[in-house]
Symmetry: C2
Subunit: 357 residues, 2 copies
Amino acid sequence: MKKNNAKAAAGVKEIARLAQVSIATVDRVIHNREGVSEKTKAKIQAIIDKLGYQPNVLAQRLALAARGTINLAVLLPVISPETEFWQAPKDGINKAAGEIRQYGVNVTYFYFDQNDESTFEKQVKKIIKARPQGILLTPTFPDPALQLMEHSRREGIPYVLINTDIPGYDAMCYIGPEIFHSGYLAAQLINYCVTGDKKVVIAKIAREIDNNYAILRKEEGFRAYFKDHGLPNGLLTLDSKQTEYAVASRKLAKLIRQEPGIGAIFVTNSRVSLVARYLEAAGRKDIILVGYDFTTDNVQHLKAGNIDFLICEKPQEQGYRGIMTLFQHLVYSNAIEKNYLMPIDIITRENYRFYRN
Amino acid sequence: MKKNNAKAAAGVKEIARLAQVSIATVDRVIHNREGVSEKTKAKIQAIIDKLGYQPNVLAQRLALAARGTINLAVLLPVISPETEFWQAPKDGINKAAGEIRQYGVNVTYFYFDQNDESTFEKQVKKIIKARPQGILLTPTFPDPALQLMEHSRREGIPYVLINTDIPGYDAMCYIGPEIFHSGYLAAQLINYCVTGDKKVVIAKIAREIDNNYAILRKEEGFRAYFKDHGLPNGLLTLDSKQTEYAVASRKLAKLIRQEPGIGAIFVTNSRVSLVARYLEAAGRKDIILVGYDFTTDNVQHLKAGNIDFLICEKPQEQGYRGIMTLFQHLVYSNAIEKNYLMPIDIITRENYRFYRN
DNA sequence: CTGAAAGCGCTTACAG
DNA sequence: CTGAAAGCGCTTACAG
């Protein structure tokens, strides 16, 4: 029977008593503030070290509550049925905001249209004007995003990127998946499920394919896996810049007609439900389908057996952690971890029930 | 641009001012304590409701720090190379203990030997004698575990079960996986990877197979899947009550020799590394291997390609959450969620790098 | 360079 | 039934 801790931890008062100084002076030493003689400082520091002093975070926060409000800006896509994915990060952000609201933290949302770069630019300008103390964003449009990040760096405003990184740019903090590996993993799963005589399709269904870094990078990872482990009987491509079911399904139908022996389809984003819907309608339960994100539609199709694997990277936690990172940095000067890579979760019909975003 | 919150939240002081009473009386109403006239109570409650008052948790906790120490008892297996799995829950418990230590919470460990029920019984007696305010345990041996739980129920001591539940017993709180589904999922994965002409092996390698509920229940889930979805060419069994490599591998070798056409092996616990080691030595990379837990050995074999899938149920989080549940119940009278089912995570060679226990 | 005092928002004896 | 006051451990003007 071992005790985990013995005596109650000593606080500033006890340190002050031992050093025969006031607690204000102790506080100065603890926070490395100016205006303490070397001698007193050394004496106090020695006692702190000896006692293994750990500040009471509760009391710290409570005392800090006296300080003014902290304003955080959040730049995300508007949430529509088509962008349901973003509800999850938003839920996480709201959860965090709720927890730290009582410490005087304000979270303000700035929404842009994923299909219109100019709305992103407009919101960037608004954020700059609002002068928040911290920023959470997803860099859907790299150019204006870089502009915001550069501005923040100059002004000393911390920011956090979620969901997607900007390749080649040394961002202050990224919280999200290693996208390349995410595609790599998708290929591994398919490789397990499909025999060597089958063809595999990479489907990219998005308005903006060519400058969507996430989609392109997932494809790279996917192709890399097959390059490393031997190719299936063929790697086909399906691109659709129109995201309506009618269009996407027509293209898909054509491809399947022209290319017999398709064993699996990998959809690089949450639009996998469109493909699922088509396969269901066409009665093609034999084709393995892998895609992204724990959205209502997708889970429905997973349940029905139309989707085999969903890959998901805890979007809610990304939002939550992003806000908390900013908060802890601003309030406690905690260092910001440059890269927090999320787990790449595999969801199937048999474990989705227990999944937590 | 929507604001998430407007004015700073009102506190007890403001409520007292508005109701023209003292904050002590406000406090009484907030906590539903005796000794407030109906009239005052109603007046104060109305103001609380109108303001949507939310207590400042920080201040609450800080004030509570004045109260005495809370003692929590933890009943877990001793950690040896063979039971490395338990390091993870312990890490989670230690993490939680560290966070709440400053609020006067003490965590005391009681260790038993997984292969010796009498050590479990002995520790149960010790715990009862120690009179902790809360208990965290894993019911490896159901009988003495039930004894402890019944005792706790009578005494009004909250307890939390982690990792394994006791079937048919209505425990106060269980934090862990739905074990049946865990086996079911394993079967699904194998079903994806193996063609119908192959045989599948269920390997149970443990000193105590017959009264190990977790192992039996996983097997049930595993078999149920194949019953629901059609059987492979044969479902074989490998039991070994000796957990040394020499013995287990000999049995395995014999089975593989006798039964050609084995396509996959499912190991119902973390001993999967023994099988991995054998398959590697025998050069049988063609056999799909599925097992449990993110231990050093297992991850090594995953990396090397000897294990295909590891199923893992966040053991660290189980420990962390278990302690936090007790803490929050004891300090804030938070209700205890009866069942907190952990996600059933799938780990492969391509995503283990990003996994967080 | 140092200290006394007020305050963060809540809880708790204690007094009436 | 109700209130004044002290205290949780820390931070911060302010005074010297």
